[in-house]
């Protein structure tokens, strides 16, 4: 009946398409909010990229193919091509970990030379991308957020030996986010397994471990947010933003209910979870498709709201708070009413229209906030942008482009302090800065 409307030459899905989809799934899951200046953001989900796996000037096509084609579990110590690195975290200016793709498998890799080289730590992980990782130092780490188990659980695993072995933590069933400050680890946990078909909103707890994830107990107070079971796949409609051991935010949002407001809610604790108070969510409904929260301290918050995406563009708004979320002001926007139900941003410009942020990009990992005035933003299918005026205006980072950065795929930007940072573009490679200004390609 509608055969005449078909594409006469439809694209043939291949491994690259699959990677792009897996990357996109990962981005739907990721709502990661890290803590202040410590590892501002953390991971990248590089993979596949809507715009293509352009293996860069390092000419690593053959090494990627060789790495992907290896048979069996890849042994520790095997070199990992930069283009296979999919998600990175750094614990200092030299040491970092990465989830990397090897064909359809996910392996854990590590670097001790600031990302120039990566070697396999474990070729047999208990879960796979779109998993997330976080490390506290070079030995203790956490792995969560991969595909659900047959029982609908999304567990968290911990390692105490740099990722060589992992043990499952006794919390769950659905761990949405994890944040560790030393041995003090928090996890946002949904009480409903993913196998639940249709059900009312699911209660959420914040579970706390004070011994590096060995034992856990619910926080004394309840954050009073719920998980939307329909979004729950992602089950990553929850973000945990820890600004210090005592100060933290939990952001919960879901898809727009028909004709209604988004489910966004922001709650805050200043006493390590004993009590939680509500904070206003400034994102208008039309810009409520996705949100990501970051900050440079207990009071300085940056909240990016994204509308539905379309053909590489997305209307966006950035709100800032200098009082811990009590009041918000619009700092900048990328206005395109055609993308936001005909609704215009209240005012302002300054953000790039092209490129995707939450829920299509890397969640919090696309936004790295260093100080109340300085931040970096890497929207998907766009480029890397920087602000030095508190988010009012954003400029594309020219030195990255000059260093071979393409910017039309997926990736993220990660800093361990104001000078040392990395940009990971999936399928292309890594770039590093040691002064917060100039970027060089690694590998």
């Amino acid at each position: 009946m509608f055969g005449h409307l078909d594409d006469p030459a439809p694209p043939v899905p291949d491994a690259r398409t699959l990677r792009a989809v897996v990357a996109r799934a990962a981005r739907l899951r990721r709502r990661r909010v890290g803590s202040a200046l410590a590892v501002v953001g953390a991971a990248a989900l590089a993979l596949g990229l809507v715009a293509g796996l352009s293996v860069g000037a390092t000419g690593s096509t053959s090494s990627v193919a060789a790495f992907d084609a290896r048979v069996g579990t890849v042994p520790p110590g095997t070199a990992v091509p930069q283009a296979d690195v999919a998600e990175v975290v750094f614990v200092d200016d030299a040491h970092g970990f990465a989830l990397a793709l090897r064909g359809e498998q996910t392996v854990l890799a590590a670097t001790d030379d600031a990302g120039r080289t990566w070697r396999v730590v474990s070729g047999r992980l208990p879960t796979s991308l779109p998993a997330q990782i976080e490390f506290v130092g070079t030995t203790h780490g956490y792995l969560w957020g991969g595909p659900p188990t047959p029982a609908g659980a999304v567990p968290v695993w911990r390692t105490t030996n740099g990722g060589r072995t992992w043990s499952r933590a006794a919390i769950g069933p659905v761990v949405s986010d994890v944040s560790a400050i030393g041995p003090d680890v928090w996890a946002v946990v949904g009480d409903c397994a993913l196998t639940t078909t249709t059900s009312p909103p699911c209660p959420v707890t914040v579970d706390v471990s004070l011994d590096g994830g060995a034992t856990w107990a619910p926080s004394a107070g309840s954050p009073a947010v719920v998980e939307d079971p329909e979004l729950s796949v992602g089950d990553q409609d929850l973000e945990l933003a820890r600004m210090s051991q005592a100060h933290a935010y939990v952001l919960a949002f879901g898809p727009l209910p028909a004709g209604g407001r988004p489910l966004g809610r922001l709650v805050y604790t200043a006493d390590a979870g004993r009590t939680w108070v509500g904070r206003a969510d400034p994102c208008p409904a039309a810009f409520g498709a996705g949100q990501q929260l970051a900050g440079s301290g207990t009071l300085d918050l940056w909240l990016v709201c994204g509308a539905e995406a379309n053909a590489g563009s997305q209307a966006k708004e950035l709100y800032r708070s200098e009082d811990g979320g009590r009041t918000w002001s619009l700092a900048s926007a990328a206005d395109a009413p055609v993308l936001s139900d005909g609704v215009s941003a209240t005012a302002g410009a300054g953000l790039p229209l092209r490129g995707y942020v939450s829920p299509y990009a890397l969640g919090h990992d696309a936004l790295a906030v260093l100080t109340p005035t300085q931040a970096w933003l890497f929207p998907d299918r766009s480029g890397v942008f920087a602000t030095t005026d508190g988010g009012g205006s954003w400029s594309e980072v020219a030195s990255l482009v000059g260093a071979g950065f393409v910017g039309d795929g997926s990736g993220n930007v990660v800093f361990v302090d104001a000078r040392h940072g990395w940009v990971c573009e999936a399928g292309t490679g890594l770039w590093r800065t040691t002064d917060g200004l100039h970027w060089q390609r690694l590998g």
């Binding site: 055969g3 409307l5 694209p11 699959l18 996109r24 078909t197 055609v338």
Partner: protein, 168 residues
């Protein structure tokens, strides 16, 4: 069938992607947008793969169509952001617009049936299996849905193709 219990997402991916792309393109007529919608639908399927074991095709087609219709809906406010030039290359633009608008007007169940039966070219038996209802119910929903669709689409709907192929 791609969704047999135990089938890995990677194994089912090519078939599901083709399905999602086809229905999306039929509504949108734009390769970039259709690929974007297909990727989004498959990404969502990937995330809930544990739930979809058994028969994910219907879910994927429905989600892709809804995403495509939603994308169409956003176009009505103003010309699309100038990344693709749909209107310049698509001889069936008017029909696609009518299709998107007409599908939106259908009741949910009718739309599901019409989408699977006529947009994805499934047989009544397969549609019934995917939606968990009887073939008779599918026939009834399809008839009503098609009637409504034809009323909305007017002359742009080809006649005599109501009961076309059962591609099962």
């Amino acid at each position: 069938m791609a969704g047999e219990v135990g089938v890995r997402f990677e194994e089912a991916f090519p078939e599901l992607y083709r399905l999602a792309y086809r229905v999306s393109f039929r509504v949108l007529g734009d390769r970039g947008d259709a690929e974007d919608v297909a990727q989004e639908a498959l990404a969502r399927a990937h995330l809930r793969w544990a739930r979809l074991q058994g028969r994910p095709e219907g879910w994927v087609v429905t989600v892709a169509t809804n995403l495509a219709i939603d994308r169409y809906r956003r176009r009505r406010y103003a010309p699309p952001v100038p990344t693709d030039t749909l209107a310049l290359v698509d001889a069936h633009l008017g029909e696609r617009i009518d299709l998107g608008r007409s599908l939106r007007r259908l009741p949910r169940r009718q739309r599901e049936v019409v989408v699977l039966r006529y947009l994805a070219d499934w047989s009544e038996i397969d549609v019934a299996a995917a939606l968990g209802c009887s073939p008779g119910a599918v026939k009834s929903h399809a008839s009503r849905g098609l009637h409504a669709l034809r009323r909305h689409l007017g002359a742009s709907t080809p006649r005599g193709e109501d009961d076309v192929r059962a591609s099962g």
